[in-house]
Assembly symmetry: C2
Homo-oligomer: 137 residues x 2
């Protein structure tokens, strides 16, 4: 039993060779990291993927594979594609809010009397924003 | 040779059984879909993942696995984690822009004389936005 075996070789119950492809990215003190990756991709697919990359990019690849594996374990149906959809929806919502806010500014600049004194109350009021948007967009 | 074998069984050069786990999600007319998934996850890992899910969720799972595999083939270092970082940065940028635009509205409402006649020119001007932000945020 070699206490310096990496997490992958411990998990796979094998000797950890000096040129182990997993060793630099799966330290023995974090067995969960390899277990997650192994569960989703399998050890040989991860080894192949790392071997195809230049060594200075392998840490980032191991990190991103681990993250994707975690997303897939937490959400076996959508994995990190679920998070991507959520972020895209969030971008759409904020862009819409930004467009409405810019329309308010344009409206206020063109009609200073129309909303004077009321603007502070209207900022963030969806019905006012929608009205302003319909005028200027 | 059975022409109705699914893309997975064709790829794996095996008989396609009536209860094939891949068949409903990997039709024979789209061989690339299974080839991508097999390259990243391996057939047995995909089969295991699909088998663990109720059948009404397997189409979505096969679709999201295919998307993730495509991202990983296009970007072997970051996969779809690269896209997640990009979207998070985009959200941060739009939120900042929205905060500055809201600060402009608040400024205009409190100081109608200060910017009257100049607001239209200042909308979207970063130096004005930064100035307004520093006053009100």
């Amino acid at each position: 039993m070699n206490p310096s075996r990496c997490a992958a070789c411990r998990y796979l119950r094998r000797r950890c060779p000096p040129d182990c492809i997993f060793s630099p990215y799966f330290p023995p003190n974090n067995p969960q990291r390899f277990a997650s990756i192994h569960r989703i991709y399998g050890a040989s697919n991860v080894a192949k993927l790392l071997q195809r990359l230049p060594s200075h990019l392998r840490t980032q690849a191991a990190d991103s594979l681990y993250l994707e594996a975690q997303y897939r374990i937490e959400d076996p149906v959508y994995g990190c594609v679920g998070l991507i959809s959520l972020l895209q929806q969030q971008i759409h919502d904020i862009e819409r809010q930004l467009a409405m806010t810019q329309a308010e500014i344009a409206f206020r600049a063109r009609h200073p009397q129309a909303v004077e004194g009321n603007l502070l109350n209207n900022v963030g009021n969806p019905s006012f924003s929608n009205q302003a948007s319909s005028w200027f967009m």
